[in-house]
Each structure stands twice: as C-alpha cells, then as structure tokens.
C-alpha cells in the first residue's frame, strides 16, 4: 500500500510539473506576429558597426536600411531608384550634375527636418581621412572627392562636388558620367547621419563613440533603434516621424544574429523566426522535398572563383591555367555537388548585372586541356606536373568544391592536387602575401553594375592579388567609366571579360544563389539581386499552421 501511494505521488508530481510547463508556453513568435506585425529576422552575424559610414557588412545593411534613408529609396521588386528623402531630382544634360529636391516632411526621429546641409555634412564626414572609413571610396565618383579623402587638400581647397543650394536643394557634381549613380545612393555609405547627434558624441572624426547605441541613435528611416543586446537581439520600432509612416505596416523588426545555419533552421521550425539568413547545404535537399513552401532560391550578385598566382610556376604559364579551366565541368559541379540552384560561371560578371551579360569565355574541353598541358610539359622537359597546393578557408562547402575539382583534374589531366585548408585569418594573410599558387575566392557585388566586379582585375587593385596586370584591360575599364551610353560601356565591359577569358588569371566556377527559409505569412518580400528587401513594403498576413 505504501509503495502504491509513493508511486502515484510521483506520477502526480510529474503531471503537475508538465502541466505547469505546458501552461507557461506562450504562442510562438510567428503566431503572435500576425497581430503584432513584428518581423523576426535571422541576421546571420552581429554587425561590427551601426555607423553607416564605418559599416562593412550585409548584416549592417539589413539594420541600417531600416534606421536610415538615403536620397533615393528602392523599388521592392526591381531595386530601381524611387523617391526617398528626396521627392524628386533633375539630371543635367551632360549627366554629371544631379540636383535633388528634399521633401518638406522628411524628418529625423527627433522631429528635426532632414536638410541638404545634413547630406553635405554626412558626405564630408565619411570622406574625412581621419575617420578611416573603409567604404569612403564609394564616394569617389563625386567630383574632387578623392583629393579631399587622400588628405591632399582641405575641404575648402578640394571643392568637392556636393553643395547645399538651399535648405531643401542638394547639388551633386560627378567626376564622370556614372550611369549607376542613383543605385549607388542606396549603399549605406551614402546614408545621412544626424549632425547634432554626431557632434554631441564627438563622432565626426572618431570611430567607436556611443552615438549608435539605443537611446542615442537618431536616424531618418522608417524605423528607430529600440534595443541592442550584443549576440542576442537588435530591435527596431516603426518611426511615427517617418514621412511615409502610413505605408509602413510592420510595427517593428527583431534581428537575431544567429550564426549557425542549423540553429537558424531549428529557430525557424519552432516559429521563432520568419526569415533565415542561410540554410545548411546538407539540409537543402530534404527541405526542398518536405517543405517547398519554406525554402527559397534567389539569384545573388556574387561569383565563386579560384585565383591563380600568375607570378610563380606552374601558373605563370597561360597553358597550365587554361588546361585547368578547360577541364572543369562546371555544370556537373553545380548539379551534382552543390545542388543549391547555383549557376555555372563561364565569365566573371553574373548575368544581367545592370543590363550587362558577358558572353561565355571559359568553356569545358578536356581534350584541348590535355593538349595544352602536354605542350607545357614537353617544353619544360617534365613527364608530370609537380603536385599543386589548393588553399581554401576551412568550411565544409569549400571543401566539397575543392574535392570535386581535385577529382576532375586528376581524371582529366592526371594532376595531383593537395588540399590545404586554413583558418580564415591565416588564409587571408597567406593570400594577400601572394604565398599561394591556387586559392579559393568569392566576390559579392556592392551595387548592380558590372564595374563592381570588373574593377578587381585592374592593375594594382587591392583585391587583385593574382599578380596579373594588363594595360589593355585597365584601358577598357577606364573607357567604360567614361562611356557616354550604355551600349559603349557594355562593349568595353565585354572587352574586359574577353581579356580575362584569354589570359585566365582566375577560374570562375559558379554564380551565387541565396538560399533561405521564409515563412509563408511574410508578404511584400521579393527576390532581389542584392538581397535587399525595403521593409516599409513588408507585412505579415495569413494563416499560421499549428
């Protein structure tokens, strides 16, 4: 009898505990969000800066585009410029002078009007050499901006092409015609900052002041900064002073810097997140089969490629570079190895970047590859190429690609490739010292124009690192910058691509695709090349499956 009582006592305790737990589980974020209109957003990483003039990451963009607004905004589907802080603009006939008319009701979060002087202040701040802004060169399209930024001249002497005509009229004069200038304005380096706030914290020439903390941050965007807990959450709330506040349907966004894709997926599956930043590559196939309504594949403005070190044997010889490139079956790579909807890359610039699509220059021809390699071996009196080291930074994804290529080259050319994975910072310092022969790389465009890709291979560009330089290439790129119409520009870009394909300092492999999970209740969200999603058009609607 005693025993039974004890047992039933335990049972009752267990039941009570469970009942208690069950009663305290609240509905999930996604369920609550339909009423609250709060978007729960997987941010991927904690941003290093929330200062638009010092920021350098996608995560920072995702937050800053909620807090601040540039002269123009973005169409949610095409990312084409639409009126932003400026309600209209005029472009001069030589297409070098842009006059922006700011809207009367554009306001900072504290109610101050957004003025032309604020923009002058902001552009001057990011170009100030002592601030050390990494993206200041984005503003070099402005006339004389470079001479001020390099410290050669003072602001007055330099006469930079930015001027406040009156409180609400801003004139920007460019160095060259820049067809993508309006698109460029949507990069956070062009976002305005609130001068009194910056001055209050002494941040005009100093990084790392607390002006970006909640309570201090004053922006002009559709949302204002509410909370920032490092590695936990950044919350923004709809800003009633925003000129287009009526359009904004979300009442807030919570950004979670979850770095692991598996953790993000668990968060998504339990209704904690509406949108994830990534999907683990092992999970793509499963999710595609089981939950096609969640997983989204969207083209992304980026190229995955390998660099050759053209200054050291064997890749100082064009034939070896060509042989390696011709024996890579890119189609097989994306279809059988990557399986994430990526596109094989036969040129460097992703297709339809700002209207430009390069013709395929890098092909697949293993027989030709074999011939080229044999000719090289014969010239050098070799029977076999010495083993080649392939460097990549430690990651499962990079390893998979490297192993696939290793097998392809072994089969087609009989080359021994040694895979050498390195911790990220070690990898970066090795590559930048030129201490490699073949190395993995990737490039994500900053704005939708071929220039953001092709400038890499200009002689002496800090991102080139292959040792390759070509006068014709530099010339073609400069001509593209100065070209007067799109057709001419594209001809020069095509010339650049052709030079890359004939000289092959690089080996393009595939164009990126952005794979993410998104809850069906997220509306007003469209696939865009830069993965930008203007939040004022986003809202939450629909049934939530229990």
């Amino acid at each position: 009898m005693h025993f039974i009582r004890k047992k039933s006592f335990h049972f009752a305790c267990g039941l009570l505990a469970f009942g208690f737990l069950a009663s305290c589980t609240a509905p999930s974020n996604v369920e609550k969000a339909l009423d609250e209109q709060i978007l729960h957003f997987g941010l991927g990483a904690e941003p290093q800066h929330l200062d638009p003039h010092l920021a350098t990451s996608v995560a920072a963009h995702n937050i800053l585009s909620a807090l601040l607004e540039g002269l123009v905004g973005e169409d949610p589907k095409t990312l084409k410029p639409v009126p932003g802080a400026a309600e209209s603009w005029k472009i001069s006939e030589d297409k070098k002078t842009y006059t922006f008319y700011l809207r009367k009701n554009a306001k900072w979060h504290n109610g101050d009007p957004v003025t032309a002087q604020d923009f002058v202040y902001s552009y001057r701040r990011i170009l100030t050499p002592s601030l050390g802004a990494q993206y200041a060169s984005m503003l070099h399209v402005l006339k004389n901006a470079k001479s001020y930024h390099s410290g050669e001249k003072t602001w007055k002497e330099a006469n930079v092409g930015v001027q406040a005509i009156d409180e609400r009229t801003l004139e920007l004069v460019l160095e060259n015609q820049t067809p993508y200038f309006l698109e460029l304005l949507n990069h956070y380096s062009w976002f305005p900052v609130h001068p009194p706030t910056i001055e209050k914290f002494g941040a005009s020439e100093k990084m790392g002041t607390p002006w970006t903390k909640p309570g201090n941050f004053v922006g002009n965007g559709p949302f204002s900064l509410r909370e920032h807990r490092i590695n936990s959450v950044i919350e923004v709330r709809a800003n009633p002073h925003y000129w287009d506040a009526n359009l904004t349907q979300l009442s807030g966004i919570r950004f979670y810097p979850i770095e692991t894709a598996d953790t993000e997926e668990r968060a998504f599956r339990t209704g904690f997140l509406h949108v994830t930043q990534s999907v683990s590559s092992d999970r793509i196939e499963y999710l595609q089969n089981k939950h096609p309504e969640w997983i989204h594949f969207e083209p992304y403005l980026g190229t995955y490629y390998y660099r050759f070190n053209v200054e050291a044997p064997p890749f100082d010889d064009l034939r070896v570079r060509k042989a390696l490139s011709l024996s890579v079956n890119r189609k097989l790579l994306v279809e059988k190895v990557l399986k994430g909807g990526q596109l094989p890359a036969y040129c460097f610039t992703p297709p339809d970047t700002g209207g430009f699509t390069a013709s395929d220059g890098f092909g697949y021809d293993p027989d030709q590859a074999k011939k080229l390699l044999n000719a090289y071996l014969k010239d050098h009196g070799l029977t076999k190429l010495p083993p080649i080291e392939l460097n990549y930074n430690t990651s499962e994804g990079h390893k998979k690609v490297a192993e696939a290529l290793q097998a392809m080259w072994k089969k087609a050319l009989g080359i021994e490739i040694q895979l050498l994975n390195m911790e990220w910072k070690v990898f970066l310092s090795t590559i930048s010292k030129g201490d490699y022969s073949l190395a993995r790389a990737g490039w994500i465009g900053d704005y939708v124009d071929a220039n953001t890709f092709l400038h890499l291979w200009r002689s002496g560009d800090g991102n080139n690192l292959t040792g390759w330089s070509n006068k014709e290439y530099d010339q073609a790129l400069t001509q593209a910058e100065r070209a007067l119409n799109p057709k001419d520009r594209f001809t020069h870009f095509q010339k650049c691509e052709e030079l890359l394909a004939s000289e092959m300092p690089i080996l393009p492999l595939y164009f990126y695709v952005h794979v993410s999970l998104r809850h069906p209740s997220v509306q007003g969200w469209y696939p865009t090349l830069l993965d930008h999603h203007p939040y004022k058009y986003v809202y939450l609607k629909g049934e939530v499956a229990k």
Partner: protein
C-alpha cells in the same frame, strides 16, 4: 590557515602575470590581424585603424601599455565590437553564463549525488547498474547531439519549451539540462567511487558497530569523506560551467561568455582574447582556492598538512 590563505593569494599574482604575457604574445604571433578582411582595405585606412587601436606602436611598447592599463583595471576596447569595452562585454555576458552554469551545476548535483550514493549503497544490484549505465551514456553523449535531441522532443514535437534564445526563464531549462546532464554523469560516478572507498573504512564500521542507523552512518560519517573526489572535481568544473560553453551557446543561441572566448580568437580581437582568458584564469584560481578550503573542512588530514 590565515597564512595559507594569504600565500595562496600572493601566488595568484605571478600566475596571472605569466598568463597575460603569454597570451599577449601568442595572439600577436598568430598570422593575420583584426583588420584583415575579404575585401581589401586601402593601406592608408588600415594605418588609420591600427593607430586608432594603438597597433602602430612597437610590439613591446604595446605590451607595456596593455600591462599598465591592466593594472588600472582597464581591459581596453574590443576590435570587433567597435564602441564596446572588453569589460562591458564581460559584464553583459558573464551573468548569462553564470546563471546557466549555476543551474547546470544544480542539475548535476541533484541528479549525480543521489544516483552515485544509491549505486554505492546497493553495489552490484540494478540500483547500481542502471544509474551507472545511464551515467556512462551521459558521459559519452556529446552536447551537440544531446542538445538538438532535447530541442526536437521538447520544443519541436511537444512544443513545451523554447528551442533557443535568452529572453525568459523558460529559456534556461533545455540548455542547463544539456550542460548539466553531462556533469551529473561525472558526479554520479565520482560519488559512487568515493562512497565505496569510505564505506570500507574502519571508522564507518565502528560507527555501524556502535549501532548508528544506516542513514546516520551515511550522512554523518561516510558522506564527508566520500564526497572528497566530487569536491575536487567541482572547482574546475564550476569554472568551466560559468565561463560558458561555445557549443551550448551556439546550439541554443545564448549570449554568453563562451562565444566571445572562441570567436575573439578567430577575429584576432586581441583585447577580447586577453580579457576573457584573464577572467577565466582568475575564476579558476579563486575557485581552486575555495575547493582547498572545502577540502580542508571535509578532510582533517588535509587540514593538518597545512
């Protein structure tokens, strides 16, 4: 006893000094630096950044400056989380790791101690085999397996508990279980071994012979000695628990110290590496000292040696 305490505290100073020095130079000799990034940074901007953080000074001067600031209690600014001081970051993250660590430790003790004692008292019966078998599984099962399993059962399927985050008290349950069960398994095995050893002792037999009740023998006589190995283990284990676990923090998305500890090394965030290492070292020194006291209290032999 007082002398012992003072001498141990004084010993801590050179230890911390050596740790700070070694860590400082080791992080600096690792290839790459905090400002290396995917996209090339113009040389003049890199110089600006370096001078902002004092990295333009000769290495030894940087070391002297760091040590000087350290003596004044200043751990410096973070390179990665610009605008935040290392001490601010530790202040934010340590309470999180502390509450997670303490609750994991409670779980470890609440499960581990009774299970171990029971196993020792009922040696070679099912009361021994079953908990010890489970404990073995617990020790072998890594947290990155146990964590997702617990999430799958309690969050995804039963929808009883949150899968991740650090926003309400329910968020504490699954991670502290994941972390605590591993330690519970260890504690159980150590308790069993320690208890078996003491139960064999003459003084326990004497106590029994004098007619003390089994409960009294256990609590009053055997437990003190039997728990010694557990106490020795608890010091470093507790330091490990409260200084955060990178894996648990990643699985459950918890803003604790472990994440700073690991990612700072990857980011070459020199000051955060140094700050967290020193913090961890201080914690271990203090906890080891506490363990010594506890041992002295539990074990008269250890007391006499001092």
């Amino acid at each position: 006893m007082k002398n012992f305490f003072i001498s141990r505290l004084l010993q801590a100073i050179p230890t911390l000094f050596v740790i700070a020095t070694l860590t400082f130079f080791m992080t600096r000799f690792a290839p790459g630096g905090p400002f290396d990034s995917d996209k090339a940074i113009p040389e003049e901007i890199k110089i600006k950044l370096q001078s902002h953080f004092g990295l333009n000074l000769p290495l030894f001067d940087q070391y002297l400056l760091y040590m000087k600031n350290l003596l004044a209690g200043d751990l410096g600014p973070s390179f990665k989380y610009v605008g935040w001081d290392v001490s601010e970051l530790i202040q934010l993250a340590f309470p999180v790791s502390l509450s997670l660590g303490v609750s994991a430790l409670l779980i470890a003790l609440l499960i581990g101690l009774p299970a171990g004692m029971l196993a020792a008292l009922r040696k070679n019966t099912w009361w021994d085999y079953l908990p010890m078998g489970i404990a073995m599984v617990g020790i072998c099962l890594p947290s990155f397996v146990l964590g997702p399993i617990l999430i799958m059962v309690f969050a995804t399927k039963l929808k009883l508990l949150p899968a991740l985050g650090w926003y309400s008290w329910t968020d504490l349950i699954l991670p502290s279980l994941t972390l605590g069960l591993f330690y519970a398994a260890y504690v159980a095995r150590l308790t069993r071994a320690g208890m078996l050893e003491t139960l064999k002792q003459d003084y326990v037999r004497t106590a029994r012979a004098k007619g003390a009740s089994p409960g009294r023998v256990l609590v009053k006589h055997a437990m003190r000695g039997g728990l010694l190995p557990v106490v020795t283990y608890l010091g470093p284990a507790f330091a490990g628990l409260v200084s955060g676990s990178f894996i648990i923090e990643s699985i459950f998305f918890i803003p604790g110290l472990g994440k700073f500890f690991v990612t700072a090394a990857f980011n070459r965030d020199y000051t955060v590496v140094l700050g967290t290492v020193l913090f961890y070292a201080t914690l271990i020194i203090i906890l080891n000292l506490l363990v010594d006291f506890l041992q002295a209290w539990l074990d008269p032999k250890a007391r006499e040696q001092r």
